[in-house]
Symmetry: C2
Subunit: 365 residues, 2 copies
């Protein structure tokens, strides 16, 4: 990947862009996609932006059998000035490489891939929706494509980036959600793949998610896989609590995904000089705080929903109603500041924003 | 799936069949494959045998992102009479449905799918290799194909069956292998997906496998994910030990895959009136038995390798040399009887064998 250029093949018949009301999460994709191949001994090569199209993959490709894959999720935002910008994209590419390491997938050149992603987003700039709360979701993912039925790291991969204009992730928006504490199923355990963003973690979560949805919950809260006592995270969000004035979140213990939003929330809270602690939190302790009246707020954090207040937590037949089912002050402030920065409506004191601008000219097919 | 027919489209240019010496595991595939679609509300439909070909799948297909997939592995054997036969195939389809349940994939009609698999194998009968120890590996798998970026069970799937003529799985053959007991990484934990045959379990095993291979081991022996004390299974095999005359294997505890070979071995041992027990076995206990001189044999069991004697087990810097690195009597007897039955050279007192015969005429495109 020394000489880094991205070949571009323009699509011949652009699709119609969805109306704001039609925006759902992850159902509509833009006109182009980025593809980069990996083969041995060449390494990553042949970066190209091509019309969005089906992949042609051998049925024996390892990803179908042994799940060797990783993915990321970030967003491009439209600002009042008409700019398009990304939020801490380098964090996602760093995490992708950590996931790659865990899954025995070769490392990517983070800055090269980021450049190619920006180029793709720039080409698709008219796809970035402009209405409040909407954005262009960016999904980079890597799959093992070697045609081989055997449990071993593959020798061929594809890195693909697809884009989807999205509305709000939860239909509840910033309104509080109902979460069930999961006591039977386990998402991840230390020594497993919980820290990595890989398909298997999500596949294993489907069953618990399906059962809790039937009972009217939005997502499950996962407990640790060893003792089923300690709080880990929510479906696709990290989780924070405000207890007696202190804001706490489970520490990174090897089975929790390190969220970019989590990291940003911690920085923001420190910046505001609010007390924030990463520590092991048991469900028992949380329940006690609730009974004592000191559980003041609970909320999830993630790229898709940004901040998602938790209005109710159900655990072993007990319902913890938090802050009268209303969005708490800290959650609200975080939501407003984070989205403010993301959408370019507030100052960015942390240098979190990267503008997507015209890049150098690149070969066009 | 009421009217069950399989449409057949014959391939125009059959490939050349590999020579016996060229047979590796899982690199060569036959001329045809079976495909069955699932869509809602129709259910499983459109079973067809078509030329082996790449799949055309949207890059947003859920399998690439959230790993919703299951698979199976069984073999077709060539007998001295020129017959082709399967070994307990209904067990694999039962297990596929258990895996489906865990992964929120719709149930398949086991007997219909088995019939279609037999039809495929019959069509490809000239691909079943005839040399000693070779067979035709059958790989049924299901992938979620719905084009949707969101963590939820899919509404579209494909069940695909591909076939690969194979030689021995381990280059060591029935010779003893060196296994490392894994102390850092964890394959599965109760409440996770360990019982299911799904990609994520194998993806998560790659790293440990890669590290142990660098140190000259064939596979790792997994310990339980909670206490890292109790023996679970080997890479892609269940595991048995003979201690002081008794044969023991870890009981099915929710995180171990229930092997068809494991089940057959237990039945065979009982039939031979040898003492066999399923129970929780700690590594400490095994080490003690080794020190006392009562650890007589250790072997793995699985479709790919049938019986794989373990000659050396390394645990926390200690090397347990088992049976002087030689194949034990029980392992040898099991190997010979199982392969004898599978290849039609021995009587089949358990009704384990299903012949693959000409099936009723089916529509041909
Ligand atoms: C399991 C899990 N935890 C946490 C998060 C939040 O991470 P981030 O803030 O980077 O979106 C996500 C979503 O990406 C996730 O899938
Ligand atoms: C994890 C694991 N355990 C055990 C086995 C053995 O199962 P079986 O005897 O059905 O091949 C396999 C192989 O299928 C496996 O992948």
């Amino acid at each position: 990947m020394e000489e880094w250029t991205v070949e571009v093949e323009h699509c011949k018949s652009p699709k119609e862009k969805p109306k704001t009301e039609e925006l759902e999460f992850g159902r509509i994709f833009t006109d182009h996609m980025l593809v980069i191949d990996y083969t041995e001994p060449v390494g990553w090569h042949d970066a190209r932006i091509i019309p969005y199209q089906p992949l042609t993959i051998d049925p024996s490709a390892m990803v179908f059998h042994y799940g060797q894959s990783v993915f990321e999720g970030l967003k491009a935002y439209y600002t009042p000035d008409g700019d398009i910008q990304l939020f801490r994209p380098e964090k996602n590419l760093e995490r992708m490489n950590r996931s790659n390491d865990r899954l025995c997938i070769p490392q990517i050149d983070e800055s090269h891939v980021l450049k190619a992603i920006k180029q793709l987003v720039h080409m698709e700039k008219d796809w970035v929706p402009t209405a409040e709360g909407t954005s262009l979701y960016i999904r980079p993912f890597i799959i093992s494509t070697e045609p081989f039925i055997g449990v071993a790291p593959a020798h061929h991969y594809k890195l693909i980036v697809i884009l989807s204009p999205v509305g709000a992730y939860y239909k509840e928006g910033i309104n509080p959600v109902k979460i069930a504490v999961e006591n039977t199923f386990v998402r991840a355990v230390k020594g497993g793949t919980g820290e990595a963003k890989t398909g298997g973690n999500y596949a294993s979560s489907l069953k618990a998610q399906e059962l809790c949805a039937k009972q009217g919950f939005t997502q499950v809260l996962w407990l640790d896989g060893v003792e089923k006592k300690y709080i880990e995270e929510v479906g696709s969000m990290n989780v924070f609590f405000k207890i007696d004035g202190e804001i706490v979140t489970p520490s990174l213990n090897g089975s929790i995904l390190e969220g970019v939003t989590r990291n940003s929330v911690i920085q923001l809270l420190k910046h505001w000089q609010l007390p924030v602690t990463e520590k092991r939190i048991s469900m028992e302790e949380l329940y006690q705080a609730h009974m004592d009246g000191t559980l003041e707020e609970a909320f999830g954090t993630g790229t898709a929903a940004v901040i998602s207040p938790i209005g109710q937590l159900s655990w072993e037949g007990k319902d913890l109603h938090i802050n009268n089912g209303k969005t708490g002050k800290v959650a609200k402030a975080l939501y407003e500041t984070l989205t403010g920065i993301q959408y370019g409506k507030e100052k960015d004191p942390f240098n979190w924003i990267e503008k997507v601008t015209e890049t150098e000219t690149i070969p066009v097919k």
